[in-house]
Symmetry: C2
Subunit: 494 residues, 2 copies
């Protein structure tokens, strides 16, 4: 309900910077895609959870470095009682809060999925919004890698069910423990090595883009790119660098061989050995569920949020090519990722609560479905539009419209001003109406209606001059009033 206005300058009709609206077909495409994903999550025993959009700043795990401007990165505001509230910036922090708050009531393990908007108080840019959707699934309260395997398999099933073909994606799997084992063997653990370690891991993460020589340069003294800009390297010794290089190149023909190679590389590291065993176990479990290495494979070059994850990590990547902004062909790339994180609930309870989960990038996946022509075409189809050429016959138009709706056909009567046929047909076009139904005085007298196929009609329209000629086209049919429903059904089906 809007309040009464005092005399004020007219407000601008604009979304705030970095926000947007979603219309019709776009909303339906997202809803359909999320519905498909939810079906898979549901079949895997995951329950939906919808947390409040607003959390206390403490629960979100942000700080108050400056009372006047807390929480760079989140939208925060003071409540009546002077406490700070903020809009959630992801779906994981609220899950951790829920897992702690309801730990006595929730089943353990707790499998939940969540789909909804999150908000980031960041600088908006092209394709970069301050409100966007996430779609997460997590299992909280179990340390078994069977849970990680389940999430990986479920991710693959969800992508397929959403419309990504089996040969168009790959879930790549690694383990933080294996990486730690490699770092241990390369003598890169310890506080004093954290800068070197960080550079080295970021270098590994760039393998796809820079190739092995680029990574080697970054592990050593550094690298100059084509523009001449220099990136400082990790300055590792040759032997150290070689260990890392061996690690990112450890992939073999199949999972078993890859694991055997990894085991050699982490020789002497207990953590590393444990990590490889976990990868082997995950591969066995996935195999038992029918997920072979054509869909989910061990890939030692996967590096994700090292500070956050504590065990298996994975990434789903789309393998087909798209043309990027620069007109160059490149792989579509990552649409989802996740892994094991065992420390988030502990913030609240003081007790370690193992958890693992995945987050699908909703906008990215929608873009991929759009790029592959997999968006539901039906979503974009408008209603059958019944023209209102004779205002006195509005009740008759409504009866006809009700007949169509009752038969499950999306339909509406034109309700704009005027009785001009051209204007009404233009409206029908704007609505992406498949058919327009025309019943003027002449037709009413003769007990018939005209049904115009607007899709076909648009194709023919340019070539036609006279109205008579136009009526003779197959794009328009005259049918008896009693036969309208049957004719509409038939024309919609063709």
């Amino acid at each position: 309900m809007a309040k009464k206005q005092k005399k004020q300058p007219r407000p601008k009709a604009m979304t705030p910077r970095g926000f947007r609206d979603s219309f019709g077909a776009e909303v339906e495409a997202r809803r359909t895609m999320l519905g498909k994903i939810a079906e898979v999550y549901h079949s895997y025993g995951f329950d939906p959870l919808e947390t409040s959009a607003i959390e206390t700043v403490e629960a979100l795990g942000s700080f108050l470095p400056d009372v006047d401007r807390p929480n760079e990165g989140v939208f925060a505001f003071r409540d009546d009682d002077e406490s700070w509230l903020a809009l959630r910036y992801d779906l994981t922090a609220p899950l951790a809060r829920v897992a702690a708050q309801h730990r006595l009531d929730l089943p353990s393990p707790y499998r939940r999925y969540a789909m909804g908007p999150v908000w980031r108080n960041e600088k908006p840019g092209p394709g970069r919004f301050r409100e966007f959707w996430q779609c997460d699934a997590d299992t909280v309260g179990t340390s078994t890698v069977a849970a990680d395997a389940e999430i990986c398999g479920m991710l693959a099933a969800a992508l397929e069910h959403a419309g990504i073909a089996r040969d168009q994606f790959l879930v790549r799997l690694n383990n933080r423990k294996v990486m730690n084992g490699v770092l241990e063997v390369a003598h890169l653990l310890g506080e004093d090595k954290s800068a070197q370690r960080g550079i080295a891991m970021r270098a590994v993460d760039k393998l796809d883009r820079l190739g092995i020589d680029g990574v080697r340069a970054l592990l050593g003294a550094g690298r100059k790119d084509e523009s001449g800009a220099f990136t400082e390297g990790a300055n590792l010794g040759d032997e150290q660098a070689e260990i890392i290089i061996d690690f990112v190149q450890a992939e073999r023909a199949d999972g078993g061989a890859t694991c055997a190679r990894l085991l050699e590389l982490v020789s002497g590291s207990e953590t590393g050995r444990e990590g490889v065993e976990e990868l082997e176990e995950i591969a066995t479990l996935l195999d038992a569920q029918g997920y072979g290495s054509d869909r989910i494979k061990i890939d030692p070059s996967v590096v994700r949020g090292l500070g956050y994850y504590t065990g298996p990590v994975f990434e789903a990547e789309l393998t087909f090519d798209v043309i990027d902004e620069k007109g160059q062909k490149r792989q579509f790339g990552s649409v989802a990722g996740g892994g094991r994180y065992d420390d988030l609930v502990m913030r609240f309870t003081g007790q370690r609560t193992p958890a693992t989960g995945v987050s699908i990038g909703v906008d990215r996946l929608l873009a991929a479905l759009s790029a592959t022509g997999k968006l539901d075409a039906g979503a974009a189809r408008g209603p059958v539009v019944i023209l209102a050429l004779d205002r006195d016959r509005m009740a008759h138009y409504q009866t006809l419209c009700a007949e169509l709706r009752n038969a499950g056909i999306r339909a509406e009567v034109f309700m704009g001003g005027g009785t001009n046929m051209g204007k009404q047909l233009k409206y029908a076009d704007k609505r992406a109406a498949p058919l327009a139904i025309i019943e003027g005085g002449d037709e009413a007298e003769r007990g018939v209606v005209q049904i115009k196929d607007l899709v076909l009609g648009a194709k023919l329209a340019e070539k036609i001059e006279s109205n008579e000629e136009w009526k003779a086209q197959p794009a328009q049919r005259e049918v008896a009033r009693a036969d309208v429903l049957a004719a509409v059904r038939e024309m919609l089906a063709r």
Copy 2:
């Protein structure tokens, strides 16, 4: 992604005051209900619209009386550039902004529906939250009452499709213009009468609760309630009061008779006559669509947000009885309402843009479906739980689980700690699992599994002592491993 923590006191795991989380069955029930409503809105030609949760304060139509605490009633905060933003408090204000912002691109009339959370910075209380869902449909850009009629019919169809039976609800329809006509006849128009007018209209609105004598008292000197509290009346003259009383009692056996009576009452008022004609036209149009007065009827006692609406107003009310907090039987009451408002878009454009719409109270309607036992029982059903009694057989359990999922059966393997059967069955109960599948070492050796019907099992459990006796119960079946899928299907169907 959570940031690394500095040493801090543990945060409380709590939603902020007035916020809540929705779990599993509750989320699914709401989603199912909104899905049903969306189907009807879609079939009527309405397109979904999802606006940003955040709007500029100017666009929302609020003011800045106090820079430190703007917008009583909304959650507001300053953006980087010092402008004020706020969370939307309803779905109508964003629609007005969209209709103005995109007026050159949108079809006209623009039919849209919207479903989503809104936020009110108000004092929370029992059943009163600061975040809740709304579900609106509006037609913007047409002044024809055919649009009002369409919204009324669509509301009735939506309620039925959501699960409210045809004899359990009634859409009651009135017209602001008729009320204005009556006020004109009663000499209650004009600025100086606004206080009297307000009291009189509120009195009419209380007809259901106070009866005609209560209304009469409030139109006159005032009314003392059972507790002895006195409410000041409108102090109308007898003749004035009689006109209002006649108006609220104007309902007759059918819409035609009611309209005839209303026409007598507003005799001499041009506005009133126009209002009655609109009601007649709406009734004709609804009739043409098959909506008789058993579902939508003219009721002169309907009073809704007088300051806001400019024409037809309506309210959907559920007519079955529920037991209230005080243990008393009363009608369930209103679940939706709406009407014509012609001035909201003008704030932005300066041009009058006629609009009409409806808002369904999502929580109220869900409560009604719950009260009538109409919530989808399937939504509350958990997955089939495969117990993991033998950790070495995890891969086998996963294979079995995949078989069930591939056949469309919701299923999961227990992944908590320990191999204790009692604990795992308790987990299955907590998950509302219909069946538990048990395959221990003994069963594995014999190539069989046990399938336990947990619903039936719970009923029988108290009476059974020994394990042998328990196995003999019909609640548990032993089947060959190859026959599990068929047996599960059969047991789920019964």
